[in-house]
């Protein structure tokens, strides 16, 4: 009986403190695993900016959010995700997220001991000299430019298990970066999870196939 009372008191304290401080992670609603439509089934729209010289497509139904300038975008497959009080520190299961950045090459300065810092850090080097130290990956071509694809399973960041693909496109004067990631759905059978992964692969492929680089302005 005493133990039960202590337990009740503890729960009450936790509840009060969580009300006070905005809730603890366990009290946040969870995003339910969803069935993603395939790339063919989705309606797509074009995201483009002439100054930064890029154009690519994303599913029209996704949440789309530009940074303060068009060099930054974020996309979520669930358009309601930003209205749910999810814990801010990880992708919920069954969600695809895309981070996009377009930067002049100087924003990607090399790692230590790779290049001559006396040249690189003043922005007077050529783009070839400024190539960053890139992680191991697979080289391909996106819109006629060399692109590095790095696939990863995240177990060291914020989140228990996320599969992500980084795409680094090295254009003449700009570097375009895409991080396309998803947390596999839980609570579904293996077939549904496999379908989700297939839809993710198709969506990633369609985005990269739609990517067009034009001459950026301001260079």
């Amino acid at each position: 009986m005493f133990k039960f009372k202590v337990m009740l008191q503890t729960r009450l304290i936790v509840l009060c403190v969580s009300i006070l401080l905005g809730g603890i992670p366990h009290l946040y609603p969870q995003v339910q695993a969803q069935e993603l439509p395939s790339a063919e089934q989705s309606k797509w729209i074009t995201i483009a900016d002439g100054y930064y010289g890029y154009s690519f497509q994303v599913p029209a139904a996704w949440h789309k959010e530009m940074g303060v300038t068009p060099d930054r975008w974020v996309f979520y497959s669930d358009p309601t995700v930003v209205t749910k009080e999810l814990p801010p520190a990880a992708l919920p299961q069954g969600l695809i997220k895309i981070d996009f950045a377009a930067d002049p090459v100087g924003h990607w300065l090399p790692e230590p001991k790779v290049r001559d810092p006396a040249i690189d850090k003043r922005g007077m080097a050529t783009s070839e000299e400024l190539l960053p130290l890139l992680p191991p990956g697979t080289w391909t071509t996106v819109s006629g430019q060399p692109a590095l694809i790095v696939r990863e399973k995240i177990d060291d960041g914020d989140g228990p298990f996320v599969e992500g693909t980084s795409v680094i496109i090295l254009a003449d004067r700009m570097i375009y970066y895409l991080w396309v990631a998803y947390a596999p759905p839980t609570g579904t059978n293996q077939e549904a999870a496999a379908r989700f992964k297939t839809a993710y692969d198709q969506i990633l492929s369609r985005i990269l196939n739609s990517f067009v680089i034009s001459s950026p302005g301001g260079q």
Binding site: I13, P25, P70, P88, A89, W108, R122, G157
Partner: protein, 329 residues
């Protein structure tokens, strides 16, 4: 009865909140909170914070008074940047190695300012906060390590009356910081130490660039003026109040210039004892909210300033943003 108890607990909580005024943390040379203002920890000690938090010493900070998006994050101790840019689930992040082999990580940023090898001191601005990488909400993930940058890290214990931040996955705060104990000096274009004289037309960029208030505010992030290949018709001057004479790393902030073509040849003139000691050219188009290193120079507490005219070889616009002086260590 339960409601009364709840109100009582809330009342005690408010009293505790009102009296909590942390300004420093203690982990080797990681001594300062990585922000200015009043923040809560939205997820206490963790490596992962979804569902049941994975043990570790990462802390998620969120602004208590407004959106965290675009807030400035600052170096929490002096050290050398070992990595900056994207890293998978960490989003855009900066990692600083401190002289005592502690490391600090600042993750999920919108922009990262310094490059690898740059030396920063306490309070050097190193990025704008966001939610990039494995995250859906705006926050700063701050983590301290020893001798490595993997694993759960080490405990960044707050001092000033508290033995530790809140428990794994829990929320707590506020944690306040309004200044840094530092031998870094920053002069922004909106500070009293900056002047812009002359007659060439100039404009203010109120969208992007550097400002201590962060992005998304109605402030002047930088000014930009018509350039000329003839005699200068505008002169910008940054005058720092250096704490001591000595060697300083001088950095100029090359701002985001969305929609504006800037000069590829901005000539920064560095003076000490009112004597010109160096002229460094910077391609202002080549960056996007970056600290650009102008070298390390021996600077005096008197007669030190940096000058930038609108005279360029290409006649394009010249941007005037912040300049940072970091005493060498």
């Amino acid at each position: 009865m339960k409601i009364v108890k709840c109100l009582l607990i809330l009342g005690v909580g408010f009293v505790l909140l009102a009296t909590a005024t942390h300004t420093v943390i203690a982990v080797g040379m990681v001594t300062e909170l990585p922000f200015i203002g009043s923040y809560n920890v939205s997820c206490g000690y963790h490596t992962s914070c979804y569902g049941t938090p994975t043990p570790g010493y990462g802390l998620d900070f969120v602004n208590r008074n407004e959106s965290t998006y675009g807030d400035v994050t600052y170096a929490s101790g002096r050290g050398t940047v070992t990595a900056s840019g994207p890293e998978g689930g960490w989003g855009y992040r900066v990692i600083i190695r401190h002289p005592d082999n502690y490391y600090s990580r600042y993750a999920h940023l919108l922009y990262w300012f310094p490059a690898a090898n740059h030396k920063m001191r306490e309070g050097s601005p190193i990025g704008y906060m966001d939610s990039t990488g494995n995250s859906t909400g705006h926050h700063l993930h701050f983590q301290v390590y020893y001798n490595t940058t993997s694993g759960g890290g080490v405990d960044p214990t707050p001092i000033d009356g508290y033995t530790q931040f809140c428990g794994a996955g829990q929320t707590c705060g506020p944690y306040n910081n309004y200044s840094f104990n530092t031998e870094m000096r920053l002069v922004d274009n909106t500070d009293g130490g900056f002047s812009l004289t002359g007659t060439a037309p100039c404009w203010s960029n109120t969208t992007n660039g550097f400002h201590r208030d962060g992005l998304g505010k109605s402030v002047t992030y930088y000014q930009y003026c018509n350039g000329t290949t003839g005699n200068p018709t505008r002169i910008g001057t940054w005058v720092p109040s250096l704490p001591i004479s000595g060697n300083y790393h001088v950095y100029v902030f090359a701002p985001n210039h969305s929609g504006i073509t800037l000069t590829g040849n901005a000539r920064y003139q560095i003076y000490s004892n009112n004597t010109l000691i160096a002229t460094i050219s910077v391609n202002q188009n080549g960056y996007n909210n970056d600290w650009v290193w102008l070298g390390m120079w021996n600077l005096s507490t008197s007669g030190t300033y940096v000058r930038l005219t609108n005279q360029t070889s290409d006649g394009q616009m010249v941007a005037y943003d912040a300049i940072m002086f970091v005493r060498d260590f």
